[in-house]
């Protein structure tokens, strides 16, 4: 039985999540976008990695979506890149870590924490990763509400 990989993966996740799968999109060949709730994020990722053959996590990133921050995990396997998206509210930006599932994502989660303020629950070390040491706490530069001030050098003439 030769199913195209996109169909195989989509059917697999539809069967696993049922109604909890909020949205599925196949925008082009070798790309699938899945949207889930925060509560289903970890087990959806686990199913993709352990049972569907998407063992490589390319990255974890985020985007400002108004009241929420969209957390997007990009996984690769069977020749398909799958984006698993879950929206976390800015008022309580928490989502489970995937480091116990795939240790290689440790720095991806730290970057999203630095730039968007999302807390990955269970991550062993969410210390500052890429922002300067004296960057103010609570200022997440990639959130839309922050118009980050331009750096002014000590010799700068206005």
């Amino acid at each position: 039985m030769s199913t195209k990989p996109e169909e195989f993966i989509t059917n697999e996740m539809k069967a696993f999540l049922g109604e909890n799968l909020i949205e599925v999109r196949i925008p082009r060949s070798r790309r699938i976008y899945l949207t889930v709730k925060i509560d289903d994020y970890k087990r959806a990722a686990k199913h993709l990695v352990e049972s569907t053959g998407l063992t490589h996590i390319s990255t974890i990133t985020a985007a400002d979506a108004g009241k929420d921050v969209d957390v997007m995990t990009l996984l690769f396997g069977r020749g398909v890149e799958v984006m698993l998206k879950a929206a976390v509210p800015k008022t309580a930006p928490k989502i489970p870590t995937l480091t116990d599932l795939v240790p290689g994502v440790t720095f991806y989660e730290r970057e999203v924490h630095d730039l968007f303020g999302v807390v990955f629950e269970g991550h062993p070390n969410l210390d500052r990763f890429m922002l300067p040491e004296d960057w103010p706490e609570g200022v997440y530069p990639l959130r839309k509400e922050y118009k980050v001030a331009r750096l002014k050098g000590p010799r700068e003439v206005d």
């Binding site: 300067p132 960057w135 331009r150 750096l151 050098g153 000590p154 010799r155």
Partner: protein, 95 residues
């Protein structure tokens, strides 16, 4: 009047100057003995180049320390760098 060229020290800086680097550059510059010269190499060092407006990049090395010569280019060609060094040598000799 400047001292003999034999004692001149030149600081070549490349790349965009960000927060993490700024204090280090100032300290290095202050530790140099006079007469001293600073060459800014590349557009990023001259003016932030493509990164102008980025939240972690200064608008050029000369907003942090005084600069004597600028080498343009993104990236600068080897010939440009040599030319700048030669021009700086001439400037130093000329007093």
């Amino acid at each position: 009047m400047k001292g003999s060229p034999r004692h001149a020290d030149v600081l070549l800086v490349t790349g965009p100057v960000n927060k993490q680097i700024k204090d280090r550059i100032i300290r290095i510059y202050e530790q140099m003995a006079e007469p001293k010269f600073v060459v800014s190499v590349g557009n990023c060092c001259n003016s932030a180049g493509v990164y102008r407006g980025a939240y972690n990049v200064y608008n050029g090395l000369d907003t942090v320390i005084p600069v004597d010569a600028y080498v343009y280019g993104c990236p600068p060609k080897p010939e440009n760098i040599l030319q700048a060094v030669a021009a700086l040598q001439a400037k130093i000799k000329g007093g």
